[in-house]
Amino acid sequence: MNRLLALVKREFWENKGAFRTTPLVIGGIFLAAMVMFLITFNHFDNEFQSLKELTRFIAQTDVALRDKVLYEINLSMSVIFSMVLAFVVFFYLLGSLYDDRKDRSILFWKSLPASDTLTIGSKLLSAMVVAPLIFWVVYVLTHIVIMLLFSVVIMTLGENPWTLMLSLGSPFKAWSLVLASYFAQAIWALPLYGWLILVSAFAPRIPLLFAILPPVVLGVLELWVDFLKTFTLNDNLFGLFGKWFANSPLIMSADSHGDEFGVALGAPITSDFDHQVTVANMLDRLFSSDMLINLAIAAVFLGAALWLRRRATES
């Protein structure tokens, strides 16, 4: 256990820039954008003459509607963090078993009494737990700072920030849902993570190319075979990978649920699952037969990666 933690610590140190600095920069950009908005609002030619007017107008809107809109804003603020997190994890895993082979420091790591299984476990743990957790914490902190900032502004404009916004929008629920979706997505994405680790274990060079080429070829083949079978391109453009992506339990798009419009899990173009953002819908995906196939694929990829890692110092 200590060894695993030490190895995870190692991953964090090596990827501090990606894991810690990146979300902080996003948070900083958010804050900067807010401040810029507050400063320049009065200069826009819009229907409200001043921020004060805008605040008063908002204060007079229906509470239930305000609650709903704030809740959706809270959730949608996570999207930019989630997207960048996906990129960070993608490239982190792509280099996970590749970088130390390239600079030969694998010879040092292999001289420590830590097994290859533990090493791969530490990489997976960093991608599934450590990175999402850090991004989530920064997302929450950014949110809190923005709320404080707006509270001060609202107070100086003579309104009550508590009744105007702080008591609305269920921030805790939004944060919890985002965190839950990060972990659900980490599990849902296991075949991709396994594939990236496998590529990083075997790619002699340019792992990105090796990671992207096979799925693209497979996707095109699938498309072609479907076309041959049906002679239409009707909803076949949407292959295996597209379906997997669209069913992700991660907040990344918007959709109308009944008569309400709001953020959605995955892309609401499949009807396999409900895309509304609830924990039940996330669990629905994780306990589906699709997930079972995902896990089996991930296990094969990870097993192969382990086999390769054992032989990485062969020549």
Binding site: R10, W13, E14, F108, L112, P113, E314
Partner: protein, 285 residues
């Protein structure tokens, strides 16, 4: 279990070539063994098998364990430096020490700091900021602070200048080595290690060309320097190898009658480099 390393029929094949060809090897505890051979002779392949870094055929036990199956647990008692400068370049010295302490149960931070205090390496340095010599010093400090039974050094000083090389081996001998420990070294710079070695193993084309202790070398091998007029007589005594230096002929003999040799010229104990050249060029068994 007296032998730290025991191999029987150890073989390593790469697709078409045989890098290690059916080697038998016994290395007891408390020795400093020089594993010496030309490039591509199979030294590194043999070491990789011993360290669990590569697959192999044949029987091999290191400290009673199978390297291919138990690499991780074996590394609690075995340490190695494979080549200079394989420390991760992004890491800071304090992080490296922290990690080693967390992962290695036999690492002593105090010892490591003591060794480091004699160098210019500081805790806040990143490895990539260090010179090649300093990286080697850092790696050696870490390795010497780990209380293991077997230390394997594969070309640990390649590309370092002579000051670092000398100091490297001095530290190793004075501060680290004792009767319980075994050190296996491969290097091209034979002259620099020969005075610290207790045993010699020559490898040629994947086979062991010579395996003996340094005392055996002194006992069995003799180098004779003769004037040109006695060369023919000396040649009749079946030397292993002959070379010429400043007009004099130098012959190397194995198990020859020393009294008889003395009548022909000057007798010396051959140095390891000469013995190596003779073994590689001649047909010594």
């Amino acid at each position: 279990m007296n032998n730290v390393i025991e191999a029987r029929g150890l073989t390593k094949r790469y697709r078409s070539t045989v890098a290690v060809d059916n080697i038998d090897l016994q290395i007891p505890a408390g020795r400093i063994v020089g594993l010496i051979g030309p490039n591509g002779a199979g030294k590194t392949s043999a070491l990789k098998a011993i360290l669990g870094l590569a697959t192999y055929e044949g029987e091999l036990t290191v400290l009673g364990k199978s390297p291919s199956r138990d690499r991780a647990s074996l590394m609690e008692d075995v340490c190695f430096i494979a080549d200079v400068a394989v420390l991760p370049r992004w890491i800071k010295v304090w992080q490296l020490i922290d990690l080693t302490e967390d992962i290695h149960p036999k690492f002593s931070r105090e010892k490591c700091m003591k060794y480091l205090s004699t160098t210019k390496v500081t805790l806040d340095h990143k490895v990539k900021q260090l010179s090649k010599g300093m990286v080697a010093q850092l790696h050696l400090a870490i390795v010497m602070a780990i209380d293991v039974k077997l230390l394997v050094l594969d070309e640990p000083t390649l590309g370092l200048d002579i000051l670092y090389r000398k100091q490297f081996y001095t530290n190793l001998l004075n501060d680290y080595f004792d009767e319980e420990r075994t050190i296996v070294i491969t290097t091209h710079q034979v002259e620099e290690v020969e005075h610290i070695l207790s045993d010699l193993i020559f490898i040629k084309d994947g086979r062991i060309a010579l395996d003996c202790s340094m005392e055996d070398v002194q006992e069995s091998y003799a180098e004779l320097m003769v004037a040109p007029d006695k060369a023919a007589a000396a040649r009749q005594l079946k030397p292993l190898y002959e070379r010429e230096l400043f007009g004099r002929h130098i012959f190397l003999y194995e198990n020859a009658d020393r009294e008889q040799l003395k009548t022909l010229g000057e007798l010396h104990t051959p140095n390891v480099a000469d013995l190596f050249v003779a073994t590689m060029n001649g047909g010594a068994s």
